[in-house]
Every structure is written in structure tokens, then in C-alpha cells.
Symmetry: C2
């Protein structure tokens, strides 16, 4: 663990010491680099920044959820949904496969038990709920997780869409999941796709054309 | 605004368009650089990462609040508490003064009205509550905001404490505020200060010696 470089003082209560070690361990979220390029400075985003941005979006955009959602649960899911990537790494949407799921489950088995008592199980529960994509809260959280990279991509004139040969149908087929959590935000995605297509950022719709990110 | 570089499509509903422009505007949190060096990679932290880390800490450490707190309110405050810095910049603790407060209020006057209806007022309310340091939720949020840089500093063997001539009393006087929100986390801070002192990282207690960050 990261904390092993400089263990916390021995006089701390054991459970609290484990909680703080966990807090230090997940600092590594700041070193998990995603492919998304952020608009404010020209560099790739990391998981910590991404998770914060989604939480902020949940607060600002909650009224656009398909049905009224429990915002605290959405926030909790968004704050923990990428934690497993400190061990499993980030996998761009176009490269996701079964192996990624195996890697992430192994990471979860290693990460969450670092917390004392049943706290790890409770955090894992939030991650599992996000992954299962069944509750209205998980679906809304996932909508934000898919829309945010689109907004970043929009601000970069579709650079990755162009680099990766994304087609309108390719994007729709992988991001259509946004509609499950928020039809209103799916309309936004459709509007961005249509305008990107008009501007010539997208490739023709042919089988196998990718989502672009 | 950042979005002016590539305005969103005209066919979006006006209020939603303003919300999305706000979401893009605050991407600049990822470019507000703090002095805290993070342990996972040797570089300074930005406001977006910091805000995410605090939200995660609130979830993990909530049982250590002085009194039971409304976690959703704590999370909301932590997610928005540094937003004004996209215009006002970050001010290290040892350099904070009245001018900083003026700069942040001006930034708030500019930032929050970007949101439609009363949404800006509601977000500003969360920021004001954090700043006022009166409610149990604000005090706990502030405890985390002060403890987190200490944990990062611990992982760097007190480098900034040493560089800036921090003394045990200097740190205690500026970070004692942690105790308001969480006596248990203040005990952690005291333990880190005592051990830092034993290791020779701190300067003698003389008037004017700084908090070190």
C-alpha cells in the first residue's frame, strides 16, 4: 500500500488507522489517466478529476433524471465508481471487454477489504449498484458518466472522434445508455452528434465503426 | 466563458444550455493548482482532485464527526466549496487574508449567476454555509479540508513544513479548527504533529512561525 512508504503513527486507533490508510491508498485515482482531454488545460483527465466533475454534474443536472432520484446515493456512487481503477486501470469505452470486468472484480476484492468492519462491503455495494445499472440512481449516474466525455470531446472539436473514426451510429449504439437515466440528456447527446456530423467530424456509418472513445 | 470557444448547439433548451455551459466552465477547477504535493505521483494537486478526495473522505470518515451530520449536505458543500477559485485562484493557508475573501466574493458574484433560476443561489448557499463554519456539517467539511493536506504532507516527510519553517504551535493554531468538526480527527492531527516534531521536521515554536502550508 502507498501508506507503507511512511506508516501512520502507531498510537492511532486501529480502525481509524485503516480508514486513513484507505484514504491515502485511493490518492492513486489522481494517477489513473483517462483518454479524455480536458478543455481548460490541454492534457488528459485523471479519475479523481473525472469523479468530481460527475458529482458536480449530478448536483446541477439532477432535475433531468428520468424519474426523481435519491441524490445522495447518486453522489456516493459517482464518488466511488472508479475506485477499482487504482488497481485495474482505466479502459476506454471502445476497448471494454469481459477481461476488464474480471480485472475490476479482482481489484474490488483487494481494495474494499482494506476498510474496517462492514464499511468496505457498503462501499462495494455502491460500486456494484453502479455497475448493475438497474436502479434509477445508477442509471442517472451512468448517464452523467457517458455525457461528460462527450462535453469534453465537443470542446475539442471532436478530435478523438476524428482520430478514432467514430460514426454517428457507433456513438449512438454505445452511448444510447444515457437515455436510460435521462431522456433529456440523451437529447443533448443526439444534438451534439448531429452537429458533429454536420461539421464533418464523424466517419460514415459502417459496421464496426467505433464510439470514438 | 470556456464554452464560448465552441458554443453548444442552439437547439438545446435555454436553461439546460446554461447548466451545461456551467458544467464546462468549472472544468477550470482542474487547472487551479494547490501547493499540496500528492503522494501517488510527485506533482501538485488541483482543486478538482482535492474536492473529490474530500468527498471520499467524508464518506469513509463520517462516523468521526463531532455529532451526527447530514452526509449529503457535507458532500454538496465539499463538491462546491472551491468553485469560486476558478476565478479567484487558490490561496495557501499561510497567505490567506481579507483580500482573498473579497476576491472570492467577487468570483461568487460572477460564477453562480451563470446557472438558471434560483439554482445559482442554492449552490452559493452551500458555499456560504461552508465558509461560515457554523453548522455541524460545515465544521466537519472544514475538518476534512484541513486534515487532507496534512495526510499528503505526512506522506512527503513534511517537506513543505520543513521548507516553510512550520512549528508545532504554528500548525496547531491554524489547524485547531479541525477539532470543531471532529475531535477524533484532531487527535489524528495532534499525533501527526507530535511525530513530525520527534523526527525533526518542525521548527522551534517562536511567534510568527507558520502553519507550513
Amino acid at each position: 500500500m502507498l501508506v507503507d512508504r511512511n506508516p501512520l503513527p502507531d498510537d492511532l486507533a486501529a480502525d481509524l488507522r485503516r480508514q486513513l490508510a484507505f484514504v491515502i491508498e485511493v490518492d492513486q485515482m489522481k494517477a489513473v489517466i483517462r483518454e479524455t482531454v480536458i478543455p481548460s488545460v490541454d492534457r488528459c483527465e485523471n479519475d479523481a478529476e473525472h469523479s468530481w466533475h460527475l458529482a458536480l454534474m449530478a448536483i446541477v443536472l439532477r432535475e433531468h433524471a428520468r424519474e426523481p432520484v435519491d441524490l445522495p446515493r447518486v453522489l456516493e456512487m459517482l464518488i466511488v465508481h472508479d475506485l477499482v481503477e487504482v488497481y485495474a486501470g482505466d479502459t476506454p469505452l471502445r476497448l471494454q471487454d469481459d477481461q476488464q470486468e474480471v480485472r475490476e472484480r479482482e481489484a474490488a476484492d483487494r481494495l474494499f477489504p482494506l476498510l474496517p468492519g462492514d464499511q468496505g462491503d457498503r462501499l462495494r455495494g455502491a460500486w456494484e449498484e453502479f455497475e448493475a445499472h438497474e436502479t434509477a440512481e445508477a442509471q442517472f449516474a451512468r448517464s452523467l458518466d457517458r455525457l461528460q466525455p462527450m462535453l469534453m470531446e465537443w470542446m475539442h472539436d471532436g478530435q478523438r472522434w476524428r482520430d478514432n473514426g467514430a460514426s454517428a451510429e457507433g456513438i449512438r449504439s454505445r452511448l444510447g445508455i444515457i437515455a436510460d437515466g435521462s431522456p433529456a440528456l440523451w437529447d443533448v447527446a443526439e444534438s451534439l452528434i448531429a452537429e458533429a456530423d454536420r461539421r464533418g467530424w464523424l466517419s460514415p456509418d459502417e459496421p464496426g465503426n467505433s464510439v470514438g472513445f
